[in-house]
């Protein structure tokens, strides 16, 4: 009867699942609404809840509550964490917790494997709990109408043990549910539908029992609580017991808060099977409501059971079932059994599917992929499914083994909490990875291993010791009698319940190792990229470089998705465009993501790497990319500089051109002026030559006078030509200079001697004042003589006729020798002074006779003095004569000479 109903119920579940899958296949998802999502989340409520909570309440009163308050707080207030997990997982096709942590830390296969091992080892007691509940309740129910305690059930041989067959049945059922086909999204719509259905069944069953006990057996809450308060033993439950003190409450809250995310089945339902993140908004209130509903009658049933079976003959964990049995309600008892079965099967199915995904994707596949033989097989999809099926069976058998070995003595809740503590070890790596960029692969690995080791030592080993598998002294005295190492009072930390104690030490070890190692090591490029993706969800991985042929990628996809699936996936990616032969980084990443859905991120990376000519993205690579970027920047800066230089050069050329144009104009002016100056003497020469020629009758005096004019003008012409040539040489820099040691006094004496006749003719006096000793100067003697002659002849020219007085003075000033030539001529107005040094600009305009000269003398003189490193200038006031002065630098070493 019980077996038939159970089988019928499982058949119904399967029908629901099948229907769900059919609906999903035709695109009308049954589970795409928030209520189904919230109900499926209630897979959290297992037989632990269904049976164990009452047991817990019967011994600790409200001590059962924190395990439900934690998830309530987490879902109601921490939903943004859940949403972030969902978003990241969907984006990267992450299929399990192990995959997620591995992906976060640079797609590390090692990390994924470690997480998987911890999950399997940690969950085995939990599976055992379910098997124990189903097995025990089945056997109790079979004894109906007798009520037996679990202890009386005794030990049975393996082949007669219901638990064994329950395990096998659940394995078969799970395989049918979860591994019929391989899906890239790793979602199981039918299973979720069945889980949601189960959640309703277990709630209805539990509420039915609760209502029956409260209102059927007793006369409502008031009656029930009143009777309980009258019993001093039971009344003690209303207060918090030392066993679960405030610290214990806090730890249980924390553990269950983490468990609602970190338990593999919760991850599977909440993250992987999530259809739409908006469903969270309904789950935020519906899921806590469900937990509240299923807990409303926990205390009444516990109190009712205690009142009804006060003598302790009945196991408190079975009150839910035994109360209806004791009240002779076989139908209700059967409903309760089905409810419990629901709770257990739901948990086992989802849990083992999640674990099998982890084992195949994060543990076995990476290992298999290392051997080329397996990697070369055409259909790896079949291999994966086989691995998963084997895993499901193995996990259930492990759970059964634990149940056989350790489960019989412990309460359901204690077993469950051991698992909670195990999965809580994922918290630092996961949450740290979500919100802290600095978390590294090594840090996560160190934290997980440290936390898990502490868990093994402080929780699992003692639980095994209780069963006699390990010597009990190990727990009481510590290994080798070292008291400090007692597993439940490590380093003398005593007075805590085992769970709190284990959590204190494992949290310390885990978080400490995670943070410490993360900080101690630099983050490598792949980790940095993944960290950015996870911490700043929504970012895209840009730092990947590599290429592969589309044909290779298609072949890879075909091995997992089949030919049709592969083609569809590639076409979808191409979005109407033709597929290129060479895949770009985007397509490679797309293929990797698709594969990640089937085999996990780490394995997908390994496989894609096998066909991709990937340039590994090490720190060097990143630096190179950065270098390239900075080189490009440098080039552009260089370009800007060049362009600026070009502009400057253009401006320079324009200026040069303008200057050339100006020079050209100046040259034209010069040529024009020179020709004018040449024509003037030529005019006289020609005129007098013709006059002399045409007038042979001229008297001798007149003839002589005219001939002298011709001679003078010829001389003037010659001088003019010479000076033009001199100036031209000076200006073009082609003048040849013979720089030597020059005695200025000698130059002055020679020049004065040469111009003596000029002064004599002009009737002017010339006085020379030479110092006794003069240092020699470094100069070209002939050029200095020319300057001297120019100044002297100018002075003679501008002196007033017959009363001219010219004074030549020479003296040493600092490191120069200075020569002054002063006349008493008309002087030069200040405004005209600069002009007299220009070519063909003569002084004396409009004042009587125009002076005889070429107009080049001062221009030439100034250029000579400038070239020799001296200065030539004039000081003059109109009407008071003028003084022309120049300096020449003393020759090196000649200052004393």
């Amino acid at each position: 009867m019980i077996v038939a109903v159970s089988a019928g119920y499982l058949g119904l579940l399967f029908a629901v699942a099948y229907y769900g899958d059919r609906r999903a296949a035709v695109g009308r998802s049954l589970i795409s609404n928030g209520s189904i999502y919230a109900l499926s989340l209630a897979v959290y409520a297992t037989s632990w809840t269904f049976y164990g909570s009452v047991g817990r309440a019967a011994s600790t009163g409200v001590g059962f509550l924190p395990v439900y308050l934690g998830p309530t707080v987490m879902v109601a207030l921490g939903w943004f964490v859940l949403r972030k997990l969902i978003r990241i997982s969907k984006r990267h096709r992450i299929t399990s917790l192990a995959d997620f942590i591995s992906a976060r830390y640079g797609k590390s296969t090692l990390l994924g494997g470690v997480v998987t091992v911890i999950a399997v080892v940690g969950i085995v007691p939990y599976i055992a709990l379910q098997l124990k509940a189903v097995s025990n309740t089945f056997r109790i129910l079979r004894r109906y109408p007798d009520i037996v305690s679990t202890g009386e059930l005794g030990h049975v041989p393996l082949l007669q043990d219901t638990g064994f067959y329950v395990a096998l049945l659940l394995a078969a059922f799970t395989i049918l549910f979860g591994t019929r086909h391989l899906d890239a999204t790793e979602r199981h719509e039918g299973m979720v539908a069945a889980i949601a259905f189960e959640s309703i069944v277990k709630l209805v069953a539990f509420l039915a029992v609760g209502a029956f006990v409260t209102f059927g057996v007793f006369a409502g809450f008031g009656d029930l609580f009143g009777q309980a308060a009258d019993d001093p033993d039971i009344a003690a439950l209303y207060t918090l017991t030392p066993e679960v003190g405030y610290g214990g409450w806090a730890w249980l809250m924390v553990l269950s808060m983490l468990a609602i995310i970190l338990l593999p089945r919760q991850w599977q339902i909440a993250v992987v099977e999530n259809v739409d993140e908006r469903h969270l908004t309904r789950a935020v209130w519906l899921f806590p409501l469900y937990l509240l509903a299923i807990n409303v009658f926990v205390l009444p049933i516990a109190l009712g059971g205690l009142l009804r079976f006060g003598d302790g003959s009945v196991d408190t964990d079975t009150f839910v079932l035994t109360l209806p049995m004791a009240e002779r309600q076989p139908a209700l008892a059967l409903l309760v059994f089905i409810g419990g079965l629901s709770a257990a099967t739901g948990m086992v199915i989802v849990e083992t599917i999640a674990l099998s995904t982890m084992v195949s994707n994060s543990l076995v596949m990476p290992l298999l992929l290392r051997s080329r033989a397996v990697a070369g097989r055409a259909n790896l999809g079949g291999v994966i499914l086989a691995i998963r099926r084997v895993t499901i069976v193995a996990v259930l058998l492990l759970g059964y083994g634990y149940f056989r070995v350790a489960g019989e003595g412990s309460a359901l809740v204690s077993i469950g909490l051991v698992s909670f503590a195990a999965v809580a070890q994922f918290a630092p790596a996961l949450l740290g990875g979500l919100f802290w960029r600095g978390g590294t692969r090594d840090g996560a690995l160190a934290g997980l291993v440290a936390g898990f080791t502490v868990w093994l030592y402080t929780l699992l080993l003692p639980s095994l010791a209780e069963t006699g598998w390990l010597p009990g002294r190990f727990v009481e005295d510590g290994p080798f009698g070292i008291a400090l190492l007692r597993p439940q009072a490590l380093f003398g930390l005593d007075g805590l319940d085992p769970i709190s104690h284990a959590m204190v030490w494992s949290a310390l070890a885990n978080v400490g190792a995670y943070v410490g190692v993360s900080l101690a090591r630099r983050v490598d490029a792949a980790e940095r990229a993944q960290a950015a993706l996870f911490v700043d969800e929504g970012a895209d991985a840009g730092l990947w470089r590599g290429s592969a042929s589309v044909a290779d990628l298609r072949a890879l996809l075909e091995r997992f998705l089949g030919a049709d699936g592969a083609r569809a996936a590639l076409v979808a990616h191409a979005q109407g465009r033709a597929l290129p032969e060479e895949a770009d980084a985007g397509l490679v990443r797309h293929v990797e993501t698709l594969l990640a859905g089937a085999v996990g991120t780490a394995s997908a990376r390994v496989m894609v790497a096998s066909v991709v000519r990937e340039e590994p993205l090490g720190l060097d690579e990143v630096m190179e990319i950065l270098d390239e970027a900075s080189q490009v920047r440098a080039y552009s800066r260089e370009l800007e500089r060049k362009s600026a230089e070009l502009e400057a050069a253009t401006a320079g050329l324009r200026a040069a051109n303008e200057r050339l144009t100006e020079l050209d104009r100046l040259k034209d002016d010069f040529v024009s002026t020179v020709t004018h100056e040449l024509r003037t003497p030529l005019t006289s020469i020609r005129a007098f030559s013709e006059i002399l020629l045409d007038n042979p009758d001229l008297d001798a005096a007149e003839r002589k006078r005219y001939l002298r004019i011709v001679a003078e003008e010829t001389e003037r012409l010659t001088r003019l030509i010479n000076q033009v040539l001199d100036l031209s040489k000076l200006e073009s820099g082609r003048a040849s200079w013979q720089i030597g040691v020059v005695d200025v006094a000698g130059v002055v004496r020679d020049s004065v001697a040469e111009t003596a006749r000029l002064f004599h003719d002009a009737g002017a006096s010339l006085d020379v004042q030479l110092p006794d000793a003069l240092p020699p100067v470094a100069a070209d003697r002939d050029q200095v003589v020319q300057v001297m002659l120019n100044l002297l002849s100018n002075a003679a020219k501008f002196c007033p006729p017959e009363r001219g007085r010219v004074l030549v003075g020479v003296r040493t000033e600092d490191s120069v020798v200075r020569v002054d030539v002063t006349d008493n001529g008309p002087g030069i107005a200040a405004a005209d002074q600069p002009a007299i040094f220009e070519k063909f600009r003569q002084g004396g305009d409009g004042l009587g006779d125009r002076p005889r000269g070429t107009g080049l003398g001062l221009a030439i003189s100034r250029r000579i003095i400038d070239h020799l490193g001296g200065t030539l200038w004039v000081r003059s006031t109109v009407g008071q004569g003028a003084t022309f002065s120049f300096t020449l630098p003393v020759a090196p070493g000649g200052e004393e000479g």
């Binding site: 006289s684 045409d694 305009d845 125009r850």
Partner: protein, 123 residues
């Protein structure tokens, strides 16, 4: 047949040669060394013809020529002399009222002929 010729030039040797040439042709001469002197000499000496150099201090030959015409010396013959023999100079000189143009260095015979022709044209 002697006429009155005013010689305006700042080069003494050239003035000497021009004086000789004009006197030899039977003309009476006066000399001015710059533009201002030239204007004054025209008023006082009342020449029939001016031999006017272009490149003069202060007031150049073009200005003097223009001023003379503006002052009403219409009958006065003006012959311009310049070392700058470009066509634009010739055109400019004629434009401001000169009657003839001779470039330096000049042929003495051509100059004398030009003077003779200008003076004869009046008769």
């Amino acid at each position: 047949m002697g006429s009155r010729i005013l010689i305006v030039d700042d080069e003494p040797n050239i003035v000497t040669s021009l004086e000789f040439l004009m006197r030899r042709s039977g003309h009476e001469t006066a000399v001015a060394r710059d533009g201002d002197e030239a204007l004054a000499a025209v008023a006082s000496f009342r020449p029939d013809l001016v031999l006017l150099d272009v490149a003069l201090p202060h007031r150049d030959g073009f200005e003097v020529c223009q001023q003379l015409r503006a002052d009403g010396w219409d009958a006065l013959k003006i012959l311009m002399l310049t070392a700058k023999g470009r066509e634009v100079e010739v055109a400019k000189g004629l434009a401001v009222g000169a009657d003839a143009y001779v470039t330096k260095p000049f042929s003495t015979r051509e100059l004398v002929e030009a003077v003779t022709n200008l003076l004869a044209a009046d008769r």
